[in-house]
Structure formats: structure tokens, C-alpha cells
């Protein structure tokens, strides 16, 4: 746990961003970093979750009755705003940006992106493939995305940090041919980017599945999982 004398520089920066003490340019730097560094985004999200309960102590106060009618009047304008709502609704089916770029990123960054309408029938090349990696019971353990442009899988573990000591979580890509290929390891609570070889990259499509097995330290010594596969999820297009 955090018995060390200090927070790491990255985590301290994430905590400061969640708390709100950064000035304008540092804040912009933090938001930029969240967009491209899932581990950092996860730190910001974790710190936001730690600090937000401060709001629980705030006393409720009834707003004027007129506020609701103002909100209602403002809604149709949104619906007509360049297909923005429809775009986000489609985009949400993938859910990657919320998961990996975190709740805060969704609030802070996504809101600033222009509502570019996408042609749903013609996804651009290099489109992310997403997977929610769940237990058979439906517990949500990992969120991952394959980025064909970077040839890498970005994965965030939602397993509490420090859980499962003495074991490692190994990520597998199971392409259409059914043979699992190891992609690497993800520590509980961590977000990592795992490179995918060019050979494997051709197999990472929407017929492939990502799976996580629990292995002894060092990982499986075989070509496939040795320990139990605890969670899996299909790669799918946004």
C-alpha cells in the first residue's frame, strides 16, 4: 500500500488535478496527459473518487421552480446541434474513452471535442476495438482497447490495487483460430499499454477475444493459460 514516504510525481500530479489546485497551464497539461496516458487518467479517476465524498456533506437546497422550465426549453436546441447527441450515443456503445480516459476525462475532455458527425457505415481505418473483460457472472474486471494505429492494447484493471498478491494477471488475445497468444501482464488497479507484434496485429479484429488468466509469478510457462481464465470479452468496434 502507500506506506512510502511520498506519492510518485505522476500520482501527486494526478491528485493535484483531481483536487483542483493546478493553474491554467498545468491543468491543460494534465488534461492532455489524461487523453494519452491511461495510467495517469486512472490515477486522476481514483483520486476524484477518493475526494468526491466531500460533496456528501453539502446540505441540499431547493432551487427556484423556474430552473426546470429553463432546462426544458434548452433541450431541443441540443437535439438539433449538428447531430452531436446522436454521435455521442453511438460513440458510447464502445465505452472505451470513458473507461480508459476516466470519468473525469469524460467530463472534462470529451465535452470539449467538437461534435463531428461520423458516418456509421464507413468506420475510418485504424479504428479502436474495445472490450469489456468480465467474469462469466458479469463482474466487470478490465477495460481494454486495441489501437491498430499504435499496434497496442491499452488495458485498465479495475481489480483493487494490492489484490491477489502472489499471482499475476496475464492478458491473452484469442483470435478467430482459437489459439491464445500472450500479450503481457496487468497489475491490479494499473493501466498499461501492451505492444502487439505485427504478426498478431493482423489477427486482432472483431472476431477476437481478450481473456485474462490468473497465473503464478512469471506467467504461464505454456503456449496458453495455465491458471484459471477469470474474465474475457470480445473485441468490438465502436
Amino acid at each position: 500500500m502507500s506506506e512510502g514516504p511520498e506519492l510518485s510525481e505522476a500520482e501527486a500530479f494526478a491528485a493535484e488535478h483531481a483536487l483542483g489546485v493546478l493553474d491554467g497551464s498545468e491543468r491543460a497539461r494534465a488534461e492532455h496527459r489524461m487523453a494519452r496516458d491511461p495510467a495517469f487518467a486512472a490515477d486522476v479517476e481514483a483520486w476524484t473518487a477518493r475526494l468526491t465524498p466531500m460533496l456528501d456533506a453539502v446540505r441540499p437546497v431547493a432551487p427556484s421552480a423556474s430552473v426546470w422550465s429553463r432546462i426544458e426549453r434548452a433541450l431541443p436546441a441540443n437535439d438539433n446541434a449538428g447531430g452531436g447527441v446522436a454521435f455521442w450515443r453511438r460513440a458510447a456503445l464502445g465505452g472505451f474513452s470513458l473507461a480508459a480516459a476516466s470519468l473525469v476525462a469524460a467530463v472534462v475532455i470529451v465535452g470539449q471535442r467538437p461534435p463531428t458527425p461520423l458516418a456509421p457505415q464507413a468506420p475510418p481505418p485504424g479504428q479502436l476495438l474495445n472490450a469489456r473483460i468480465d467474469t462469466p457472472k458479469g463482474d466487470h474486471l478490465f477495460v481494454a482497447a486495441y489501437d491498430p494505429t499504435r499496434q497496442a492494447v491499452l488495458i485498465s484493471s479495475l481489480v483493487p490495487p494490492g489484490a491477489g498478491a502472489g499471482h499475476v494477471h496475464q492478458l491473452w488475445l484469442i483470435p478467430a483460430d482459437g489459439r491464445p497468444r500472450s500479450l503481457g501482464f496487468v497489475a491490479p488497479g494499473a493501466s498499461v499499454t501492451l505492444p502487439v507484434s505485427t504478426l498478431l496485429a493482423g489477427l486482432a479484429d472483431d472476431r477476437a477475444t481478450l481473456a485474462v488468466s490468473v497465473e503464478a509469478p512469471g506467467g504461464s510457462k505454456k503456449d496458453g493459460p495455465t491458471g484459471p481464465v477469470v474474465a474475457f470479452g470480445k473485441l468490438s468496434k465502436i
Binding site: 506519492l7 473518487a49 433541450l75 458510447a92
Partner: protein, 171 residues
């Protein structure tokens, strides 16, 4: 939330009925101004309407998600007021933060209990600085000016405080 994401206005209305007093309280706590808080509250529900599809159950409670939107929007508004908004000295804020006993009991019953306990384990100065930063989004620079303390000192109070907080919450 899924109903709101599908464009169901009645569902947004229900959410508004159930949560607007709480979120208005958050805006008011940060902005201390009714008119501005109502403007922000309106923005908050429109944001919820547009982003309901980004909400993932299981990653955060609805209340935490929408409270975070209310806090962020209010702080944006506060920052837009410019540096004059930060003229209030910390001492006055401390008095404003003084809550009567019954209120504290009520608060302790809520889910902020663990965090509240951990915050109170910090020394008073650190607790105040962290609470002030959270509720006002004031920068290190402003905190340092207000407290007439070097920026580096304020920064190390906060970083040490956050580290302790994390340790305490993990216990």
C-alpha cells in the same frame, strides 16, 4: 441513465426531482450566489442530458457522477470570475466551514463518513487547505497568497496531506 441517454425527457425530469436540491447545494456551496448557482445548475442538467450515454454503472454511482459534473461546472464558473473571486482570506472560510453538531452527525451518517474521518485525522491547517482547494478549485498560488506562506510550503502540506489521506482510506 440509459433512458436519459435514449432521449427520454420524463426520465431527466425524474432525475431532476430527485437530485436537483443536492446539486444546487453543491453549486451554492462553491459559488455562494443563488443566481449564478441556478445558471450552473441548468448547465449541469443539460450536460447530464447530453452525456448520459457516457455514464457506466459499476464505475461510479449516479450521484457521484452528477455531483462531479456540478462541482466541475461550478469551479469553472468561479474561475471565470477572475482573481478577485479569491480575495476571501482562509480564516473567514474556516468560520464558514464550522458546522453545528447535529449537522455533523447527519453528515457522518452519509457515505462521506470514511473520508470525513480521514480528513479530520489531518492537522487542522492541512484539512482546511484541502477542503478549500476542493470546494473552490483555487490554485497553489492563490492559497499561498491567502495564507501568506511560500508556495512550496503549501504544496508540501497538500501533498503530504493527500498521501496521509490515501493511507487512511486504504486502512
Amino acid at each position: 441513465m440509459p433512458r436519459i441517454a435514449d432521449g427520454d425527457r420524463a426520465a431527466l425530469r425524474q432525475l431532476y426531482e430527485a437530485t436537483s436540491a443536492k446539486l444546487f447545494g453543491v453549486c451554492l456551496r462553491i459559488l455562494s450566489n443563488r443566481d449564478e448557482s441556478e445558471d450552473v445548475l441548468q448547465e449541469v442538467y443539460i450536460t447530464i442530458w447530453r452525456r448520459a450515454d457516457r455514464f457506466e454503472a459499476g464505475r461510479a454511482s449516479v450521484m457521484a457522477w452528477i455531483s462531479t459534473i456540478a462541482r466541475n461546472r461550478s469551479i469553472d464558473r468561479l474561475r471565470a470570475r477572475g482573481p478577485l473571486a479569491y480575495a476571501e482570506p482562509v480564516e473567514e472560510l474556516e468560520i464558514a466551514d464550522e458546522t453545528p453538531g447535529a449537522q455533523i452527525l447527519l453528515e457522518a451518517a452519509q457515505s462521506g463518513e470514511a473520508l470525513g474521518k480521514c480528513l479530520s485525522e489531518l492537522d487542522d491547517r492541512t484539512e482546511t487547505v484541502i477542503r478549500t482547494a476542493f470546494f473552490e478549485g483555487v490554485t497553489y498560488e492563490v492559497l499561498a497568497q491567502r495564507m501568506d506562506t511560500p508556495l512550496g510550503t503549501v504544496k508540501s502540506w497538500i501533498r503530504r496531506g493527500l498521501l496521509k489521506l490515501k493511507g487512511c482510506l486504504e486502512r
